[in-house]
């Protein structure tokens, strides 16, 4: 059975995720309204600006809808999506969704001139993965239930906690589908 995965489409790299998910064998749909979540098996929170997404989530009740969606179903957050999922964010009082037991630092590598590409090893996924880091966060520490999947220069940049997957870089900006396939597989196993 083909799983259907939504991509939060308030702002950011939405079409890239949709394309990668479809190429990875899933159905994909944009999520702009609460009822778009109804028939989905999983959800991607894309790269973009987390403050912008959060504001729009609050305004149209998507925030609570996504939180309760995440109580039952898999979620994959990339870059800004990682920030939305984290339980602790440096310099901010309180989390956004707070569904993933990680402590993160925003814009951790500096401004855009410090953005970079680096070769990564991602456990269960790939030995050579082109990690595209754009004003990226990193994960300072993780809780006991979290499996670290990838590190770059002593910082955690990808991890999994049960049905939740996250990375600090942008898999949607490369042609390498291995991480998207890993998430699609995770969603398939969840149903």
């Amino acid at each position: 059975m083909t799983v259907k995965i939504g991509v939060l489409a308030l702002q950011g790299a939405v079409s890239e995720h949709v394309k990668s998910l479809r190429a990875s064998g899933a159905d994909a749909a944009e999520v702009k309204h609460t009822d778009d979540l109804e028939d989905l098996d999983g959800l991607v929170l894309p790269g973009g600006e987390s403050t912008t997404m959060r504001r729009l989530m609050d305004k149209y009740e998507l925030f609570d809808a996504i939180k309760s969606f995440a109580e039952r179903k898999p979620v994959f957050g990339t870059c800004a999506g990682l920030i939305l999922m984290a339980q602790k964010i440096e310099g901010r009082t309180g989390p956004h969704l707070g569904i993933l037991d990680i402590d993160v630092k925003r814009n951790a590598y500096g401004r855009q001139v410090d953005s970079f590409e680096a070769d990564l090893t991602i456990k269960h996924v790939s030995d050579h993965y082109d990690g595209v880091f754009i004003r990226a966060p990193y994960i300072k520490s993780v809780g006991p239930e979290v499996e670290i999947l990838s590190t770059y220069e002593d910082h955690i940049v990808a991890c999994r906690q049960g049905r939740f997957l996250t990375c600090a870089f942008h898999p949607e900006l490369t042609d390498d589908l291995s991480l998207h396939r890993y998430f699609v597989h995770l969603v398939e196993e969840s149903i």
């Binding site: 950011g12 600006e49 410090d114």
Partner: protein
């Protein structure tokens, strides 16, 4: 080894802005209002385009103090404008670590023939375009993001509409052409052949294309999204309005929900008077910013 300033990293940064609104601000306070309202980035300026028009004279890169204050005030990306062809203004902004440089016709050009060779920079650039020829030349020079030129500071959307429609129709033309036809089209447009071939292969422009130059209302922003813009720059409109915070939020929401007309009606209520605006036909040739830098 980490590689900085690659095409993927420069263009990717603009991809992250998609569906968002980039707002012109002239101080830290405005930058905070913009961020709070949901802007995906701010453009730090000394004056907004409508004030540049009014002031006349030579418009230059903003005082670095303003850029710095805006950088310290927000966590979203900060962009800044350099004059067309002004290599040193661009290097100065790069050294200050602005996140994107707009090589902009809103400022008085420093070079009336050449644009900056943007490939030699680590910081990415956005440039204006009126047709696919300009778009492809700017990409050829290394621009990682495009925007329509429109006619800045007029509050009149007609030029941005013209430029967005023309670029998109010319892209569609390229997609329908064979390589030999593309060569002749490249000659007509004054566009690099290789860039047009890349468009043909990818089925789209290789960089995002935002709307800019004349967006004055939430409905204007939604119109540009409807016409295929990847996002919206708003210049003079927001902080010249009666309630900037409310106006900024309305533009952000109209851009995301651009086909949700009841919602646009709701959020367009009680915004006060928008910019008075200028009929393009009444502009003197010397006052047409879009004709600067080809």
């Amino acid at each position: 080894m980490a590689q900085k300033g690659t095409d993927t990293v420069k263009r990717g940064m603009a991809e992250m802005q998609k569906g968002g609104v980039i707002m012109d601000v002239v101080n830290a306070e405005q930058a905070k209002i913009a961020e709070e309202a949901g802007a995906t980035a701010v453009m730090a300026l000394e004056r907004v385009p409508s004030d540049i028009r009014k002031a006349g004279g030579v418009a230059r890169m903003a005082d670095p103090t303003i850029v710095e204050q805006v950088q310290n005030a927000v966590t979203i990306p900060v962009m800044a404008k350099a004059r067309i062809g002004h290599i040193v203004e661009a290097r100065v902004l790069e050294s200050m670590k602005v996140d994107y440089i707009d090589e902009s016709e809103v400022l008085t050009p420093a070079d009336d023939v050449y644009h900056i060779d943007k490939k030699t920079f680590t910081v990415p650039f956005v440039c204006g375009c009126r047709d696919l020829g300009e778009a492809a030349r700017r990409i050829g020079e290394g621009a990682a993001m495009l925007r329509t030129k429109g006619e800045p500071g007029t509050g009149n959307i007609v030029e941005a509409v013209r430029h967005m429609r023309l670029v998109n129709s010319q892209v569609r033309k390229v997609l329908s052409m064979s390589p030999d036809e593309i060569m002749v089209f490249a000659k007509e447009l004054g566009a690099p052949y290789e860039i047009l071939l890349q468009i043909k292969e990818a089925g789209r422009l290789p960089v995002v294309n935002f709307a800019a130059g004349g967006v004055a209302t939430p409905a204007d922003a939604a119109l540009m999204m409807e016409l295929g813009a990847d996002g919206v720059f708003v210049g003079s409109g927001i902080f010249k309005s009666e309630n900037p915070a409310k106006f900024a939020r309305a533009i952000v929401e109209a851009t995301t929900y651009y086909q949700d007309y009841e919602r646009i009606a709701e959020l367009s209520k009680g915004l006060g008077h928008p910019m008075k605006g200028i009929d393009i036909g009444t502009l003197l040739p010397a006052d047409r910013m879009q004709d600067r830098g080809k």
